[in-house]
């Protein structure tokens, strides 16, 4: 991966200054601060998708299962055990990981579209569990809970305070993600994305790498879901639903899978677009859908991915895209991807 250079650092610095000033800037743009919080939450969720879609080459079309498990994990632990703010987030994160450990072994048997479909199916299992077990989850009505105070300090984080807490979490996830994709592990994932068969004949147990990536992704997704639960102080079955998965995948692709800040760009456009359009138009999904279609057809690398390509000196950037071995008949690949 190319060092991002001085302008990359400048752009990142400007971005974080804007994010820090958001509580002051948002009212002037007629945006509620909760929308800014949502942007960061969904940016975290989309980064989880990005790790699998943009860096490993598998489509987690059921990621909301982990997102919802995070929200329920946080909610149930607050309701039943009266845990603090950070503990509830940790439990939500772990709930996502547990979900991945349960379904991962089944998902790993398939690749491509079959992986995506199988993941939707398993995601829906969690949806129906939340829907059916009314006495624990509140069923379709969902469950209310209060945002617990911060451990030790006893402070209740509200409004701007909560926004800054989420911004801190977002920053930590970005830094962790950046380090991860540059690590040997991250480079191996990129190799698997480019050509899994090739990675296998070099002696890499690709199943194991994808499994670990899935668990990391589920942890990030669970964390995002737990933050979302604390943000709206509510958890409901639709958070686990495949529509929710679709929204998060859409944000990732819109912004640019395979770039660090693509998910944030996608979340900004999607969340703010939804907010503005849904108050102005009853059929607000249509323009957003059109944007998505335009994006997939015109900018397959997403808005940020395409913008980065237009920068001087990056024109001939070599993409870690997928390619095939000459000596790899398609039938043979199907037999070996197992």
């Amino acid at each position: 991966m190319k060092p991002i250079g001085i302008w990359g650092w400048v752009a990142t610095a400007i971005l974080f200054v804007l994010l820090l000033l958001a509580p002051q800037l948002a009212p002037r743009l007629h945006l509620a601060l909760t929308i800014c919080t949502d942007v960061l939450l969904f940016a975290i969720a989309a980064m989880a998708v990005n790790l699998l879609l943009g860096y490993t080459g598998v489509l987690p079309f059921g990621n909301a299962a982990f997102f919802g498990l995070g929200a329920y994990g946080a909610g149930l632990s607050i309701q039943n055990f009266h845990v603090g703010f950070i503990t509830s987030l940790v439990i939500g994160t772990l709930a996502g990981v547990v979900g991945a450990v349960l379904i991962g072994p089944f998902l790993l048997r398939r690749r491509g579209i079959y992986f995506a479909l199988l993941m939707i199916a398993f995601g829906q299992v969690f949806y129906f569990i939340a829907y059916r077990f009314t006495n624990i989850t509140g069923g379709e009505d969902g469950m209310n809970f209060t945002r617990p105070p911060l451990e030790g300090l006893g402070i209740h984080l509200q409004d701007a305070g909560f926004y800054y807490a989420i911004l801190l979490i977002f920053t930590l996830v970005v830094v962790g993600f950046w380090l991860l994709v540059r690590s040997p592990f991250g480079r191996t994932l990129v190799a698997i994305k480019q050509n899994e068969v090739r990675a296998r004949y070099l002696g890499l147990n690709t199943d194991r790498f994808i499994f670990v990536a899935l668990m990391i992704s589920a942890a990030i997704e669970g964390l995002a879901g737990a933050c979302y639960g604390l943000s709206i102080m509510f958890a409901y079955p639709l958070l686990l639903d495949w529509h929710q998965s679709g929204d998060i995948v859409l944000m990732t692709i819109l912004g640019g899978a395979g770039t660090i800040f693509g998910p944030l760009v996608g979340a900004i456009i999607y969340v703010i677009g939804e907010d503005i359009l849904s108050t102005a138009l009853p059929w607000w999904q249509i323009p957003l859908g059109a944007l998505f279609v335009a994006c997939v057809l015109g900018f397959p690398k997403g808005l940020l991915g395409t913008a980065l390509d237009l920068l001087p000196g990056r024109k001939n950037r070599i993409e870690p895209g997928h390619d095939l071995d000459f000596a790899a008949p398609i039938i043979a690949d199907r037999e070996t991807t197992r």
């Binding site: 990129v190 050509n195 090739r198 070599i318 000596a327 039938i331 037999e335």
Partner: protein, 241 residues
């Protein structure tokens, strides 16, 4: 005679319904350089893929040092000491030269470290920070071989190392292959360019339409050009290299 390093017995491989390999049997001894010759479509690459577990043979045996590996996943076979240099080189274009090597080394330490490979291939050291997709064909072939070496294989499968390379580069690649052989690495060298491979090989097999049609001493075959031409389905004139 002791157990050969690689023993392939009655291998039958199919792509869907088409029967590609018909009872293919051969051996590669420890430290031996064996050429597997044949025209395009003869089944050479499929044979390699079957050995590596990339294509699962329907019947037959593949044994490495006496241990049966038919049906094992590719990563396990690779970890048993089989290095593969695929046709058309096939690097991870988005990763740098060094990253490609590190990926292949992957914790396996042995005689061949990345450092030692770079000593043998000084060109790669100069280019170690460059994306593999930006290398020339010859540089990529060097990297493909280097990548296979850093995994410290006891057996290397090399597919069409000379393909698409300028004659001078081919010489360089072949010099590297000979060095490996002197180092005690057994090599199965797949080639369409029969004369080139026979010059450095100990023994040779010739394949046609998924069958082994000839087996013999490489030096002897090299002297019998008409025989080669006949086996490879070429005119004697076409052989001149």
């Amino acid at each position: 005679m002791s157990e050969p390093l690689l023993r392939v017995e009655n291998l039958n491989t199919y792509y869907g319904k088409s029967h590609i390999l018909h009872d293919v049997s051969f051996e590669v001894g420890k430290g031996e350089l064996v050429a597997l010759l044949g025209l395009n479509g003869a089944g050479k690459t499929t044979t390699m893929r079957s050995i590596l577990g990339l294509t699962r043979p329907r019947s037959g045996q593949v044994a490495l040092d006496g241990v049966s590996v038919a049906g094992s996943p590719p990563h396990r076979i690779a970890r048993m000491g089989v290095g593969y240099v695929p046709e058309g080189r096939r690097m991870f274009a988005g990763l740098t030269v060094l990253e490609n090597l590190q990926l292949a080394e992957n914790g396996r330490k042995g005689d061949w470290s990345i450092e030692r490979v770079l000593q043998h291939l000084p060109k790669l050291r100069e280019l170690s920070g460059r994306k593999a997709g930006r290398l020339s064909g010859g540089e990529q072939e060097m990297l493909a071989i280097g990548r296979a070496i850093v995994s410290n294989p006891t057996l290397m499968l090399i597919d069409e190392a000379s393909q698409g390379l300028a004659p001078l580069i081919v010489q360089e690649v072949y010099r590297l292959i000979e060095e490996l052989k002197q180092d005690g690495v057994a090599i199965l060298l797949v080639e369409q360019n029969a004369l080139l491979a026979l010059k450095i090989a100990d023994r040779a097999y010739v394949m046609d339409e998924g069958r082994i049609v000839y087996h013999g001493d490489a030096a002897a075959l090299l002297k019998d050009r008409e025989r080669i031409a006949d086996l490879m389905g070429l005119n004697a004139g076409e052989l001149a290299s």
